[in-house]
């Protein structure tokens, strides 16, 4: 129970900090929209091609935006060395990890209500209400799958000056299974799934999200303290 209370306390703190620094989430949202715009310009006016690539571009926009969001979440901790203050408290580092992971997942989920309509408009895709709900579920799984290793790596690189370069370099290769699972399942959702493959891709996505959440939770205490 204590660990749950501490996790919730970290989530509350992060939500409050994010609310106070709203400009950060706005810039991440804007970055995602601009990414989608650029991808659509790169493909050109071919509506069939746009529709086929929509799922992949939507997930790539999430991935690229996530690196900004994740590195920001630990930049706040490094300012005035607040992270050391947390480590000096009798707080279980696992609670610290899952608290930050949950809040990072939540922030990435906030991108969905903005990026999804932009994608539908730019890429000429139609989606019914049930499709929206399914897409939000897939988005949540993708956000969770990216947040778990992203939070770990953001913590590891937060003290380094080259964090902005290192974080994507470390994160992108690791999240390839999440990327594949989410691109395939979102594309199948947006373009049609005549062979009912979406379930197996979703299962792959969910499996990797669970693996990352378990494994990174075990590694985080070492990552956060060894750096000293």
């Amino acid at each position: 129970m204590k660990i749950l209370r501490q996790t919730w306390a970290v989530v509350r703190k992060d939500l409050l900090l994010e609310w106070r620094g709203r400009s950060r989430i706005l810039s991440v949202l804007l970055f995602g929209v601009v990414t989608l715009l650029l991808f659509s310009f790169a493909v050109g006016p071919d509506s069939v091609m746009l529709r086929t690539a929509a799922g992949g571009f939507l997930v790539l926009a999430l991935l690229l935006s996530s690196t900004l969001s994740l590195s920001e979440s630990f930049r706040v901790e490094q300012e005035l060395r607040a992270i050391e203050g947390l480590l000096l408290l009798p707080v279980d580092p696992v609670a610290l990890y899952y608290g930050k992971c949950l809040s990072n997942t939540f922030f990435l989920m906030l991108l969905a209500p903005v990026l999804t309509p932009v994608t539908l408009i730019l890429y000429s895709v139609e989606l019914d209400f049930a499709g929206f709900l399914t897409l939000f579920g897939l988005w949540t799984l993708a956000a969770a799958g990216l947040s778990a290793p992203g939070t770990l790596y953001a913590a590891m690189t937060s003290r380094l000056q080259s964090q902005d370069v290192l974080l994507p370099l470390l994160l992108f290769p690791l999240v390839i299974p999440v990327l594949m699972g989410s691109v395939k399942s979102v594309t199948l959702l947006l373009t049609g799934d005549p062979m009912s493959q979406i379930q197996s891709w979703t299962l792959l996505l969910a499996s990797f999200a669970i693996i990352y959440w378990s494994l990174c939770g075990l590694l985080f205490p070492h990552a956060i303290e060894e750096g000293s």
Partner: protein
């Protein structure tokens, strides 16, 4: 580790050392601080005072030697050690976007303290920050940040308090506040390790002193004796 050691010896280090790259910040440090004692760490900038405090606090892992806090190894029994100590250091460990009240609320929740908001406001009153409770700490002066950080020693109720340059950035009232608090901690039987350049003031609060030079302990004894020797040599 004996149960007597757990209760009577707050800090014990044997051959303790910390190296950053090729540079030894602290080397061959043998130190014992008895429970309830107040010890002053003195020495020039870069002598290893802050490194020693951060090793004791568990923020650094020793490169060599052994360290125990009330008989516990800070690397193996991390949580037990963290429940017993607090470090108030150079850095303030604050979030500039949070208000003073929100900051202590976050600390209280994470420490598992059952303080009500009224109790937290009373604590803010003690450090003259009640009127500033709804102001963001990013706009606070260094002295106000230090006073706010000092509240951690009251929230967590630790047995061992580590103070790194407690008088820096504080005005006369702020320094008096620290003195009063240290006296109160001593009366409550808490152990204190204070690193300071303000030797006359710090020596009044501590019975023992340890002098460090270039990462090594070169003198240990009564704090008053150290002040006397420094006067003679200067």
């Amino acid at each position: 580790m004996t149960s007597a050691e757990q209760t009577t010896i707050a800090v014990r280090s044997v051959g303790l050392g910390k190296r950053f790259g090729r540079q030894w910040a602290l080397a061959h440090c043998d130190l014992q601080v008895d429970a309830g004692q107040a010890v002053l760490l003195a020495g020039a900038n870069g002598s290893g005072k802050t490194t020693l405090l951060r090793l004791i606090a568990g923020l650094y892992k020793p490169t060599q030697g052994q360290l125990t806090i009330f008989g516990n190894d800070p690397n193996r029994e991390r949580m037990t050690c963290r429940q017993t100590l607090t470090l108030v250091g150079h850095d303030h460990y604050l979030y500039s976007q949070l208000t003073a009240l929100e900051t202590v609320q976050v600390w209280a929740r994470l420490s598992g303290c059952e303080h009500s908001d009224d109790q937290l406001l009373d604590l803010l009153e003690e450090v003259d920050l009640r009127h500033w409770r709804n102001k963001r700490v990013g706009g606070f002066s260094a002295g106000m940040k230090k006073r706010l950080t000092l509240l951690r020693t009251r929230l967590e109720e630790p047995r061992l308090i580590l103070l790194d340059e407690p008088f820096s950035a504080l005005d006369t009232d702020g320094q008096k506040l620290i003195e009063d608090w240290v006296q109160r901690f001593k009366s409550a039987g808490k152990t204190l390790v204070v690193a300071s350049h303000n030797l006359p003031r710090a020596a009044r609060l501590c019975e023992r002193a340890v002098f460090l030079k270039e990462g090594q302990i070169i003198w240990q004894g009564k704090a008053t004796d150290m002040i006397q020797q420094l006067r003679l040599t200067s």
